[in-house]
Symmetry: C2
Subunit: 197 residues, 2 copies
């Protein structure tokens, strides 16, 4: 299968990390995340949002959105709980990430990589939202080793992706001890690969 990918994108890294840990082979095709003028041609027929990651199976079917791809491949593996409520909790954290974490922490990091200088009030709003997300995660992890069910799952993969590179956007993880210990716990999982792999 073929992954339309970006080495910079944490959303793509989630997919690469899961596929590595499941031992599933795939090809990668790098898509430019700075110049998007070619997106309709490359991804138009595959993904209504024309974003990466987009995964194309060998039979031509396409699947997009990191959260959907992660759930698809994790089903039936130890990385997605069998319990119905725990599976819903995994989704809760994955939707939290896309709505309350990524739009702040990933966007500020993207600005840094793209050399974009936002208005001060825009940066301040993004910073405030990112801090709220980090504080919510840290408080949750003060009483738990993993986000859901006391086991490593795709919820951890989804939240690890942009949290572990939050400093690239200027977020200081120093105050969040439980969060930093959790990051280290995720890094030690069998088959872990870094975002640069």
């Amino acid at each position: 299968m073929l992954l339309y990918d970006s080495g910079l994108s944490g959303n793509c890294y989630k997919v690469r990390l899961l596929l590595a840990q499941l031992g599933l082979p795939y090809e990668r095709r790098e898509v430019d995340v700075f110049d998007r003028s070619d997106r309709a041609r490359i991804l138009g027929g595959l993904n209504p949002a024309q974003r990466v990651p987009t995964l194309v199976f060998d039979d031509g079917r396409a699947l997009a959105e990191s959260g959907a791809i992660l759930n698809y491949f994790a089903e039936g593996t130890p990385l997605l709980p069998a319990d119905r409520f725990e599976r819903a909790q995994v989704l809760q954290w994955m939707f939290f990430e896309q709505y309350s974490h990524e739009p702040y922490i990933a966007v500020v990091r993207f600005w840094a990589h793209a050399g974009i200088e936002p208005e001060p009030h825009e940066r301040e709003a993004k910073h405030r939202g990112g801090i709220a997300a980090l504080e919510a995660m840290n408080a949750h992890l003060e009483r738990r080793a993993y986000l859901v069910g006391e086991r490593y799952s795709i919820a951890d993969i989804a939240l690890y992706a942009y949290t572990h590179v939050a400093a690239e956007g200027g977020f200081d993880l120093g105050p969040y001890e439980a969060l930093r210990e959790w990051l280290e716990r995720i890094r030690r999982q069998a088959g872990h690969v870094p975002i640069t792999a």
Copy 2:
């Protein structure tokens, strides 16, 4: 069970619509979406994001994020496909909604209801994002009756919620014929309730 709810919120409406169609009884507790000063006290121990909807089961367990709640209750019903790939497609549309649709279409509608006047460039950016989402949905629905698997599912519920009130934020659905026909198709589903119910 108890739903921390908002009559205005499309995210809460998704949950109310599904529970109505599944015939599941619950209590509602209205949470202020304009004055958020009381959020930590009301939702702090229940939902890391302190948002509505948050659902509390009779045994005290809490579940948040509309997408997670919808998947939990739809599992094993005709509203969530049994096929693994189709279930992933449902999630793809639900993540699309939360990342590429709601932050534009719902936010502009909220501004209108709250009497917030954004900077012109902020409004323009939100409008552009909303149009892109509506165009993506319309193109998809030109060849299909429902978003996934040619059957009504929680993907349709998730996208219906804010799309059908997009005009309240100034979005004109006139150009999107397939989208308007789909809205009418969703309205005709057995057990449908309006957002005002």
